[in-house]
């Protein structure tokens, strides 16, 4: 079964016919060639595939492409506006919030969504809210630091 969908991704509107069972993450990666969103588990556990759907963080391996019909999706590729990095990207860079980089796009999307809801989270709140995003390299410390840093910057 195929469906016609219209999705706005990173500010650009896309109309496509998709298989009913196609996952949003595969739609983004395979159809739109937005490969910044990574796949680490396909079981909703690792968070590497986190994107925003209508501004909220979702794991794109748990959404069907058809569910995104009429929605606005933001991926890691949409975070940098022209030459300006998103404050969370900036903070990950400043605080060395990455090593291999595989979890990084998902982490940045999750962190960005957190800061929209809670502009000045405590360390405990940051750690709690990142529970759905696994990182095997950093031990999380610099990721947590980066988010706290971005929160301070964002409060200006």
């Amino acid at each position: 079964m195929r469906h016609q969908i219209r999705v706005e991704v990173n500010g650009k509107s896309h109309e496509r016919e998709v298989e009913a069972r196609q996952l949003l993450v595969h739609f983004l990666r395979d159809e739109l060639r937005l490969t910044g969103t990574n796949v680490g588990c396909e079981t909703s556990l690792c968070g590497a595939c986190t994107v925003w759907m209508d501004g909220k963080a979702v794991k794109s391996c748990t959404q069907l492409a058809v569910q995104a019909d009429g929605c606005s999706v933001t991926t890691i590729e949409g975070m940098k506006q022209g030459d300006t990095f998103h404050p969370v990207q900036e903070a990950f860079w400043e605080c060395h919030g990455l090593q291999c980089g595989y979890c990084t796009p998902g982490m940045i999307m999750a962190a960005g969504a957190l800061l929209k809801e809670n502009p000045s989270p405590s360390e405990a709140e940051i750690r709690q809210s990142l529970k759905g995003n696994l990182c095997r390299c950093t031990g999380y410390q610099n990721i947590v630091k980066a988010i706290a840093h971005a929160a301070q910057g964002g409060a200006q």
Binding site: T35, T43, L45, G101, Y102, E123, L130, G139
Partner: protein, 728 residues
């Protein structure tokens, strides 16, 4: 200095292998054994799949021998007559889409007539379970020094203990994956890997091709931790076989479940200690037995065993030491390289054992360690005299200070007396980690490295060392820039590609900064000499000289080179296992504070201090990151990560039920360095990558023992196990 490749990773522009656009490609998938051991009776391919355009490959398609080249030629690329573990690859398929390939693989049935499987490495195999030699022993080693039996008999106190550690899955966040295609006569393999030349030699042998017809390129790699040292050779050969048969490009990307079920893991271990001591607690004799579960094939088990054994007596002085070790073949997935490489297992045992001794003879655990820590002039288990000038007592003191060890201990006594269900405790571990290959490994490797002086005055480092997240590109840039007095922007780091970079050894064994970093310095010196400059030359002078050289030698390549030279005074005997096992050691003390909830039987680490001496710290941010990441993997191994086995296969091969630490499971890791530059390491550095895996587990176990009074000896300490101990 910031991460060299950081901006790409932050913006999603990094191309991991699954991201690589590949025209006209097919997708591969692997058909695997359902049984732990048996004879393959039949591989049933359903009729509708035959002739559907599906590409099928089995062992008969191999041009070369059916072995993955590593230490021993026993690891088949595709099982032929028999299988030795569940999920062993038997057949490969390729189809037009990832989903179609996976569907097809799931429909192909491998019918196996089962044979008795050896599933417990601690048990002597029965006659029907024997598959290797006459005892299933894959490798046996012995380290012996002094008169152990006499010393034990004469010792006033002997303390015994048995310790066990479980398997650990790497869970690099990017699963294994390779792309392969044909470029005319040449087989090109591009993928997620740590060691391009391991893959190259495995490919040339399996495909029966000369090195000129095989090209291996590393893609951006989403974590390795040893898991992309041995296993990528198999994925690479599989992808190449499919590409050759299909005559089309292939992507072979594992999903998480397949990756966790089928790839190598950390060796489970059983370790027994018998320690002779004086009344005060001085160690007089060690009798240690180390048994590793090697799994179905040898892979790297002999070297994991030897590193484990060399670290088994800990960083302590003792004149009478016997360490016997063996790696057993079992019908489970082959165990392989994992950060620490045998040392975390044996250091867990000795450091837990030290606390067991302390309790048994009534000596403070800190005092016991102080009394026995190696001082310069004393020898390790292999007879290596340590003389590096590091103040190991100071490393310990620093960790005690930072963690406020003594104060916390007294606080906990009061806290535990009051609280209804929470118990707190603090524990420590003193340890060391040998950097670089064991014994004669570096000498045998004869690593070669080039730096190229380019026509525009920039310099490119040509090295096979891979960036897998640990920061290789940044450190290499920094070392080359410093050595040549150039701005870091003037340094390029070549993508590891066997057609472009020489073989400076694999990216393993914490050797990259220390050993390869030193090669970069020397190759830079050589480059400068080649353009007639001496060490006093400024960067500007060098760049001018490079440009001038190229004007005089159009279209020629200008290379500075360096080949590994063993530091003076290193002696090692592979026969007797005596001598200088490593050219340098990192020294560390880690302290863990835990809180145990008696209602849920969970132990949580609430504070962690990691103090280490690792030579010169070249980039403190990167070094801290390595330690923090390693400690958190160690916390996972100690408390959360349990591979549950079912008929030799990992039953919980998904992230839903194999639990690794989240941000909410761990505290901030407080890291401190003591610096004692190592004259033969890159800029004075010693290896660092693996060390942080060694300390967390024993420190945590000692803390749990202090908190609750139980005596945990089997890792991981999951709630079920802790419940049993507390209820007893």
């Amino acid at each position: 200095m910031k991460r060299f490749e950081g901006l790409e990773k932050l913006t999603g522009r990094t191309l991991f292998i699954d991201d690589l656009p590949l025209e006209n490609c097919l997708w591969g998938a692997t058909v695997r054994s359902p049984a732990a051991r048996g004879t393959i009776r039949q591989v049933r391919v359903p009729n509708h799949l035959e002739g559907s355009g599906l590409v099928l490959v089995d062992h008969r398609d191999l041009p070369g021998p059916n072995v993955v080249s590593l230490i021993t030629d026993d690891w088949p690329i595709l099982a032929a007559e028999t299988v030795r573990h569940r999920y062993e690859p038997v057949m490969l398929v390729a189809a037009e889409s990832r989903a179609a390939a996976r569907r097809a693989a799931a429909q192909i049935e491998v019918v196996v007539d089962p044979l008795p499987a050896a599933l417990d490495f601690r048990q002597t195999p029965t006659a029907e379970q024997i598959q290797v030699g006459d005892d299933n022993v894959l490798k046996q080693l012995k380290i012996e020094r002094g008169e152990v039996d006499e010393a034990l008999a004469a010792a006033p106190i002997v303390v015994e203990g048995e310790y066990e550690t479980g398997a650990q899955e790497h869970v690099y966040l990017e699963p294994q994956g390779m792309a392969a295609w044909l470029d005319g006569e040449v087989v090109v393999v591009h993928g997620s890997l740590q060691c391009p030349y391991y893959v190259e030699s495995a490919l040339t042998r399996a495909l029966d091709l000369p090195a000129e017809r095989v090209r291996v390129i590393q893609a951006a790699t989403g974590g390795g931790f040893g898991g992309k040292e041995d296993f990528p050779s198999i994925v690479a050969i599989h992808a190449a076989l499919l590409a050759i048969k299909a005559q089309r490009p292939i992507k072979l990307i594992y999903d998480r479940g397949e990756d966790m079920a089928a790839t190598t893991k950390r060796h489970p271990a059983w370790i027994r200690h018998r320690t002779g001591l004086s009344e005060e607690g001085q160690i007089l004799a060690h009798d240690i037995e180390v048994v590793l579960d090697g799994g179905a094939y040898v892979t790297l088990s002999p070297v994991v065993l030897s590193r484990g054994m060399i670290h088994a007596a800990g960083p302590y002085a003792c004149d009478h030491v016997r360490i016997r070790g063996r790696a057993m073949m079992t019908n489970s997935v082959p165990f392989g390289a994992f950060r620490g490489f045998g040392a975390p297992q044996t250091l867990f045992a000795i450091e837990r054992h030290m606390d067991v001794i302390a309790k048994q003879i009534g000596v403070d655990p800190v005092k016991l360690r102080r009394l026995n820590l190696l001082t310069d002039g004393q020898a390790t288990a292999t007879g290596q005299v340590i003389d590096d000038g590091t103040d190991r007592q100071q490393v310990l003191s620093r960790a005690l200070d930072l963690s406020r060890f003594t104060y916390k201990r007294s606080q906990h006594t009061a806290f535990n007396a009051e609280h209804a269900y929470l118990r707190r405790g603090i524990g420590l571990a003193c340890f060391f980690h040998g950097a670089g290959f064991t014994g004669s490994g570096e000498r045998a490797m004869k690593s070669l490295l080039h730096v190229a002086g380019l026509a525009d005055g920039r310099v490119e480092v040509l090295s096979a060392s891979t960036e897998i997240g640990q920061g290789t590109t940044t450190i290499f840039t920094q070392i080359a820039a410093d050595q040549l007095r150039l701005d870091p922007e003037q340094i390029l780091i070549a993508q590891p590609d066997t057609w472009r970079v020489p073989d400076n050894g694999p990216t393993v064994a914490s050797r990259t900064t220390m050993v390869v970093g030193r090669l970069i310095e020397r190759a830079c010196d050589n480059l400068r000499e080649r353009v007639g400059l001496d060490a006093a030359a400024t960067g500007t002078e060098l760049q001018a000289a490079l440009v001038a050289w190229h004007e005089e030698h159009p279209d020629e390549e200008l290379l500075g080179s360096a080949r590994y030279q063993q530091p003076p005074g290193i002696e090692w005997d592979d026969e007797t296992y005596r001598g200088d096992a490593y050219s340098a050691y990192g020294w560390a003390t880690y302290v863990a504070e835990v809180e145990v909830d008696l209602r849920t039987y969970t132990a949580r680490v609430i504070d962690f201090v990691a103090v280490q001496e690792i030579g010169k710290v070249l980039n403190e941010t990167l070094a801290r990151g390595q330690i923090q990441g390693g400690v958190v993997q160690g916390i996972g191994w100690a408390l959360l990560e349990e591979c549950r086995w079912q008929e030799g296969g990992m039953a919980n091969h998904q992230l839903t039920n194999y639990i690794i630490p989240t941000s909410d499971d761990v505290p901030s890791i407080r890291v401190a360095f003591l610096e004692n530059p190592y004259p033969h390491g890159g800029q004075g550095a010693k290896g660092i990558g693996e060390l942080p895996l060694d300390g967390p587990a024993p420190a945590i176990f000692n803390a749990v023992a202090a908190a609750t009074g139980v005596d945990p000896r089997v890792l991981p300490l999951v709630p079920e196990r802790l419940m049993e101990l507390i209820e007893q």
